[in-house]
């Protein structure tokens, strides 16, 4: 029992148990109903009717003469009443309670039932010594008067002291043997039906559960290290389609999450390894010849640059982590977009000047939005810095506001000949850089990830479009932020 309890419930087990239980129960019910009905039909409708017909024959032989009532009975014509083994026995009782006639088959025995008046025929089983179980009918009737047209039936006016009572018994042995044989056949057929039912049920179960088994086997076979596996049922069924689709979607998401995590870890490692290699080389080479003051002085400058870049990367990573964990608090306040853009452009001015990048600011003055000032600063700064760094020399960054479905959109457009359509879906990934060599250690590829995370927190949408080599990145503010 403990072993049984220890096992986990199974659909197959539950269905098999139910199948056996309900099939067995149905078979039992059918069996009892059939055998009961059979006995009732055979006994009451056939045996008892036959018995009554036999009784009626005796009734017609019972006649009333002037001398009294007589049973005109000839044993040679009714041998069933002659032998002690029967199979039939009768007694005819006169209205005054005296016995008129008893069949030869009874011998010294008496039928063990009362022989009083009965308005309706009464049937019952009796045990007759030497004959075993018998079926008996007791009926009262009016003896036919000689030459009178009386059929012997009782009427409402018939008094008990006028009626003759006939007790007629017939051995049940043959009938019982027949019903026993029939019952056996019925039960054998039902047991056979049960076995067939179980075999068929098992086959149906197997067939019905095959897609589930298929699904189970495929899910079990999924290697946690190989997340590219997808579930494809050999025989797709409607009931499992939603589950399979959902599982495949989850697997897909899991795989891309793992790939993203691996790529992220690898990118972090790479982004840290290179500046660490620079730092270590600077320190070790510098330490070999500290007297070379010119070299050591140059190295100090390089060390400062490297540490600032690493500091920036760590800050950006922390910022992203805060966004991911919900630790970044949003403080809404009125933000003047023109001021934010002005500050961001000033910070990028040196690079813009060096690369001859121009700003075409078409934004209306005094455009106020309700947002987080610090986050908006960072978003605009990153977008302008990206445009200034990656646009071709001498190009122009255009800033303009638009209205998209009743929402304010801030659009940044700059030439981006290096980008392809496929890059648009990846450019917000952490550490993504168009140049796979990641040359140019000033940017680690986190700027657009921060833009995306901050925009998400601020309820903004981002749309990107590449048209004729120009990239347009639109920040779509949430409704009613003006």
């Amino acid at each position: 029992m403990r072993w049984f309890r220890g096992r986990q419930p199974s659909i197959r087990g539950a269905l098999t148990r139910d199948l056996i239980f309900w099939s067995g129960l149905n078979i039992l019910l059918i069996g009892f109903l059939l055998t009961g009905a059979l006995e009732k039909i055979l006994l009451h409708q056939l045996f008892d009717e036959e018995l009554e017909k036999r009784a009626q024959a005796l009734v017609t032989l019972t006649k009333e003469f002037d001398e009294g009532i007589e049973l005109d009975y000839a044993g040679e014509f009714m041998p069933e009443f002659e032998s002690p083994e029967g199979p039939e026995y009768f007694e005819v009782w006169l209205p005054n309670g005296t016995l008129l006639e008893r069949s030869e088959s009874l011998g010294d025995r008496e039928l063990p039932v009362a022989h009083g008046f009965t308005p309706e025929p009464v049937y019952r089983d009796i045990h007759l010594e030497g004959a075993g179980l018998c079926r008996l009918v007791r009926l009262s009737f009016l003896a036919q008067k000689e030459d009178a047209d009386v059929d012997g039936s009782l009427s409402a006016e018939t008094r008990p002291d006028q009626a003759v009572t006939l007790l007629l018994a017939r051995k049940r042995e043959t009938f019982d043997n027949l019903t026993t044989s029939l019952n056996r056949m019925i039960w054998a057929a039902l047991v056979w039906a049960l076995v067939i039912c179980l075999i068929q049920g098992r086959y149906t179960l197997n067939k019905g559960l095959k897609p589930l088994e298929d699904l189970r086997a495929q899910v079990k076979a999924i290697d946690p290290k190989q997340l590219d596996a997808r579930i494809t049922l050999e025989e797709p069924v409607r009931e499992l389609r939603a589950m399979v689709d959902q599982l495949n979607t989850l697997l897909e998401r899991l795989e891309s999450a793992v790939i993203r995590e691996r790529r992220f870890t690898s990118d972090v490692a790479h982004e840290l390894r290179t500046p660490l290699a620079e730092l270590r080389s600077l320190v070790e080479v510098g330490a070999k010849d500290p007297e070379d003051t010119e070299m050591v002085s140059d190295f100090f400058g390089d060390v400062r640059e490297v540490t600032l870049e690493m500091q920036g990367m760590v800050s950006n990573l922390l910022e992203l982590t805060r966004c991911d964990t919900g630790a970044r608090v949003v403080n809404h306040e009125p933000v003047n977009l023109a001021t934010v853009i002005g500050k961001a452009w000033t910070r990028s001015a040196e690079t813009a000047q060096r690369r001859r990048i121009k700003l075409d600011n078409r934004l209306a003055e005094g455009l106020l939005v309700s947002s987080d000032g610090a986050m908006m600063d960072q978003i605009i700064q990153n977008l302008i810095s990206n445009a200034v760094t990656y646009s071709p020399r001498g190009s122009t960054l255009v800033l303009e506001s638009r209205e998209l479905n009743g929402r304010l959109a801030l659009a940044f457009t700059n030439p981006a000949p290096q980008l392809e359509e496929g890059d648009l879906s990846q450019m917000f990934n952490r550490f993504w850089q168009k140049d796979a060599s990641r040359t140019g250690s000033e940017n680690a590829g986190l700027g657009l990830s921060i833009v995306e995370s901050f925009a998400g927190l601020l309820g903004m949408d981002i749309k990107t479009r590449l048209y004729r080599g120009n990239l347009t990145l639109s920040l779509i503010f949430p409704p009613n932020i003006n």
Binding site: A269, R280, S281, S437, S441
Partner: protein, 221 residues
């Protein structure tokens, strides 16, 4: 010994160049794959120090193209890629060594010297001529137990001649090996360096180790 560093990080490139030069190597640098490949194909370098993630052409492509064209220059890959598969791939494509960033500078120097020795098929880093012993792994020269103080250029020239012992090396070859990429240098610079070496390694009445073959160059017999 002449090296080419192909590395896209300008700071690392600068640092390694200065450090390796102080160790006596003549060092050229390239910042992208295409430029690096052009340099490696045009000049005879003892060792190439090659980054893998390079703009223009990846380090593996540079290596593949060089090997496809029959260049046998020893290549040391210097990469932030630390996975075993990356190392296997690099070595299978013809690299001779693989060093993961960040690295110990002395280890880089030692591995580079080992590759140089492999080029000249000398497994023993010590070369002995008479009582003069030169340890190419340590970058040091000894007369008996006494260490001789040589500048990096002097050591490089001495090591170069010892690696080609018995063969006359022209002044042009020495100039190319020691000062390629330095722009204009004095015409007699090689003679000055040889003269300095002779003074430092001279022992009593022994004849000079480095012989002059007029009109040809120098040789260590």
């Amino acid at each position: 010994m002449k090296l080419l560093i192909i590395e896209d990080s300008a700071r690392l490139q600068r640092t390694l160049k200065r450090g390796l030069e102080k160790e006596g190597f003549a060092v050229d640098t390239a910042g992208d794959g295409k430029e690096g490949y052009a340099f490696a194909a045009a000049y005879d370098y003892d060792v190439l120090i090659l980054d893998l993630m390079l703009p223009g052409m990846s380090g593996l492509e540079v290596l593949k193209k060089l090997r496809a064209r029959g260049f046998k220059t020893h290549v040391l890959i210097l990469s932030a890629k630390d996975q075993v598969q990356d190392r296997i791939k690099g070595l299978e494509m013809g690299a001779d060594d693989y060093l993961i960033k960040p690295f110990d500078f002395d280890e880089l120097v030692a591995r580079t010297r080992a590759l140089v020795r492999r080029r000249y098929e000398t497994k023993d880093p010590t070369i002995q001529v008479g009582t003069l012993k030169v340890n190419t792994a340590l970058g040091k020269a000894y007369r008996g137990d006494h260490e001789i103080s040589l500048t990096p250029k002097e050591f490089t020239l001495l090591e170069y001649l010892l690696a080609r012992r018995g063969r006359v090396v022209t002044r042009e070859a020495l100039l190319e090996h020691l000062y390629a990429g330095y722009g204009e240098v004095a015409g007699n610079i090689i003679d000055v360096v040889v003269c300095n070496i002779r003074k430092k390694i001279k022992s009593g009445d022994e004849p000079s180790l480095i012989e002059t073959r007029r009109g040809f160059g120098y040789v260590i017999p």
